[in-house]
Symmetry: C2
């Protein structure tokens, strides 16, 4: 049995995990089932709400996330991906509890998005991800500048758009999230990072015109995982 | 942590597993992430080719399938689904090795498809699934009749269509498989069972007109799993 095994800590939400799995398959050059990466997935959505936890209005999801990481290690995962931007808030604790290394979604994203000097990048993300600063710090280190949503834009468009996706209303969510993309572009964002895993499926559902100027961290994470798989598979 | 946990033995192919996961989510009435079923997935495609094994031209996949079932049990699965019709050939051995009960895809399918007395049902499946007779026996027990593809139709349409999907050519596969659907309908099949997990995504990719008269065993299996989840979640 292969010693290479991608582990996915998912369930946040369950559809975002399916989206990551689909993108790993799409990004893999393969002529047969057997050439695709082996993946074990913990798609268990009984995790305390990340946005509420970081707002101080709900319990921490850390115990459930640690449980998932332990199960993935127990199943033999050699590399772990977290299929949720916001859950990267607990990256340090999870990495410390894991034998398998955890890839970071912001590292993977900045590998795909190389900002020009002075370029303004719009960041669509939960308040927790915005506050954490992972994307902003990496963009600044490369000479770019990050535009983030205003509090009112978060309240009226981001939060209801995100929860619409979670209850299966991808089109409704896509319309709300597109308004936020429009507002960031109007303030000068040349490109966008869709740094909440609910956003790319919502934009796909309405075939949003913002997709053409967006970087999808889920796809970037899939590409990073596939690079590891191909290095193992093809021995390079 | 929940004692309910769906386990999916997947990887055959990896896209068919993603399709089953997506359908489990679609079939679940839910207003939040937390209301969706917890799922652990063994999406490891390094499994010997099932069609070749049953044709006597390749090694048995049983050792790899048993490994997957053991890993799912080790991760705490309470019910196991096999995301591949053909792999149900080893259902008995896998069920015997599993603490968690295994749902059978043909049982789930016949719950969705109630044949009329004398109704002709077309069966699109691998040679291994056709030879096993699971679907035919259940259809006959309910008074229906099964139409199966001719050897030439398997050679020219089914096998190349199925392997086209496995290498990512969903549209090409969908076109070939639609010709087989057409031939079965021309011989009197009123409805079709798409009893190979590669077929429903291929028909979806080309929005095949045959979808309207087809039963999708992947969706039927998803529904059976969701019934178990709702009984647990809602305590009914």
């Amino acid at each position: 049995m292969s010693r290479f095994l991608l582990g996915i800590l998912g369930g946040m939400g369950p559809l975002a995990t399916v989206d990551l799995m689909q993108k790993i398959i799409e990004e893999t050059p393969a002529h047969s089932d057997q050439q695709h990466a082996p993946v074990v997935v913990w798609n268990v959505p009984q995790v305390a709400d990340r946005q509420q936890a970081l707002a101080g209005t709900g319990p921490s999801p850390l115990p459930q996330l640690l449980h998932g990481v332990r199960r993935l290690n127990g199943a033999g995962a050699s590399h772990i991906l977290i299929a949720c931007n916001t859950a990267h808030h607990w990256y340090g604790e999870l990495a410390a509890a894991s034998r398998a290394p955890l890839l970071h979604i912001a590292d993977a994203t900045l590998d795909s998005l190389r900002p020009e000097r002075g370029e303004r990048i719009g960041l669509i993300a939960t308040q927790g991800t915005l506050d954490a600063g992972w994307f902003q710090q990496r963009i600044a280190a490369l000479g770019g500048e990050t535009l983030t949503p205003l509090p009112q834009e978060m309240r009226e468009w981001f939060v209801p758009g995100c929860y619409a996706v979670k209850r299966g209303d991808l089109r409704g969510g896509g319309e709300l999230l597109s308004r936020l993309a429009q507002a960031l572009a109007a303030r000068g964002a040349a490109r966008l990072i869709l740094a909440c895993t609910e956003v790319p499926p919502a934009f796909a559902a309405i075939d949003s015109p913002w997709r053409s100027v967006s970087v999808d961290p889920t796809r970037a994470l899939a590409r990073a995982a596939v690079r590891h798989w191909l290095a193992y598979r093809d021995g390079v």
